[in-house]
Amino acid sequence: MDLTVRNLAVARGGIPVLAGVQFTVSPGRALVLRGPNGSGKTTLLRTVAGLQPPFEGSVTGAEDRIAYAAHADGIKSMLSVTENLSFWARVFGTGEIAPALAAFDLDALRDRLAGNLSAGQKRRLGLARLMVTGRPVWVLDEPTVSLDAASVALFAEAVRAHLAQGGSALMATHIDLGLTEAEPFDVTPFRARPQLSHADEAFL
């Protein structure tokens, strides 16, 4: 099933930042969003993930199929790596965390408290969470922040494996992951015409 975005406008603080966005992500494909800071990539991803309602347009194929990862990893510092990961595995109804630990090279850290991890290790834990959700569509906001070159390679490998299994990914990143399945999508041309929020318009 494709993730399809039709004529989507997304709003930050009620004011649209992007409008008329159209794309389709098929199974096995990845779409990499590009655009300068503040161009609305995060807002677009949050809307696709269903965390905020679209200003206009529609998102189909996202309902209950999305695993979302953003700047905040939702990692509890007082829980160990395994505990953090198996919590999300159980919430999403999948049991197996070993492949995720292996894929992100967390085996050696499995009993460490998440609070004692470095920023890059935390990030890896946050990304490992994607694998335990069992969700086919990964929606990723700057996934490679604070990762070193080796970890970026691990991540690229995980995405490639995910795509090979028929998953798809939508991500905002500036780093070239060397994925042949990925196509870039520049959001700059979709910048919304300055326009007020619906709430404000009622008063003009």
Binding site: G13, I15, L196, S197, D200, F203, L204
Partner: protein, 242 residues
């Protein structure tokens, strides 16, 4: 012409601008007539002496304290169901007025209680219910002013108003159960026999009318203010965009 036309901010301001002078004048007139009639030209009660004159303030303000909350409840439901901004702003505008009515009812009640019951304050069910109602008003007003985004604030306060109404009602029964109370029965009821005597009744009615009109006038004025403030923010937002 539908009632919902007044949900348009411009239409609301235009209509209330026409109504406000008349409303204010009749409100002041009714209040003056009711209170002066009550204060100067009614006899003392044979039991309560001259303190019966407090009734012209106490009863109307207590009525409006409850009615203001009911109006906020209705406005909140309209906002939740139909998303008319004027409705949410009217609820916001009414809250301080209702809170003030509650304070008047409490203060006059306490002052009346001192000579009648020998104490400023008793934990009588009615007085206590009003005190709790006042706390609900405080929470509602505090929540409105704590949230920056206007629509979020409207959504959250209207849900608080709904939930609060249920708990206010529960509190009323809880308080009745907790203390049977000294307070006299309702001063007004549909059963004429139980009503206060005619001499007190008519000035009281005029005074109630005055409080109702005062409430409406204040809510109109304050809603206008809220609408204008929103419009100013919207215009400034548009300027920033351009």
């Amino acid at each position: 012409m539908s009632f919902w036309e007044y949900a348009n901010p411009v239409k609301f301001i235009r209509t209330t601008d026409r109504l406000l002078p008349w409303l204010s004048v009749t409100a002041v007139l009714c209040l003056a007539v009711g209170l002066i009639w009550g204060f100067f030209f009614t006899p003392d009660d044979f039991r309560q002496g001259s303190t019966v004159k407090i009734i012209y303030l106490h009863v109307p303000s207590a009525l409006m304290a409850i009615n203001a909350w009911l109006m906020m409840l209705v406005a909140s439901i309209i906002w939740i169901v139909r998303r008319h901004h004027v409705s949410a702003l009217a609820a916001r505008a009414a809250a301080p007025v209702g809170a003030m009515m509650t304070v008047i009812a409490l203060a006059t009640g306490a002052i009346w209680g001192q000579p009648m019951w020998g104490t400023w304050w008793v934990w009588d069910p009615r007085l206590t219910s009003f005190l709790i109602l006042f706390l609900f008003y405080l929470g509602y007003i505090a929540l409105w002013s704590a949230i920056e985004d206007d629509d979020t604030a409207a959504d959250l306060t209207s849900i608080l108003c709904l939930v609060g109404s249920v708990f206010a009602l529960l509190s009323r029964y809880a308080v009745l159960f907790w203390n049977q109370g000294l307070h006299q029965g309702a001063s007004l009821s549909l059963d004429k026999e139980e009503n206060v005597h005619d001499v007190f009744y008519f000035p009281l009615l005029v005074s109630i009318a005055g409080f109702v009109l005062l409430f409406i006038a204040l809510v109109f004025l304050r809603t206008q203010t809220e609408i204008r403030a929103r419009r100013a923010r919207a215009l400034q937002a548009r300027e920033r965009l351009a």
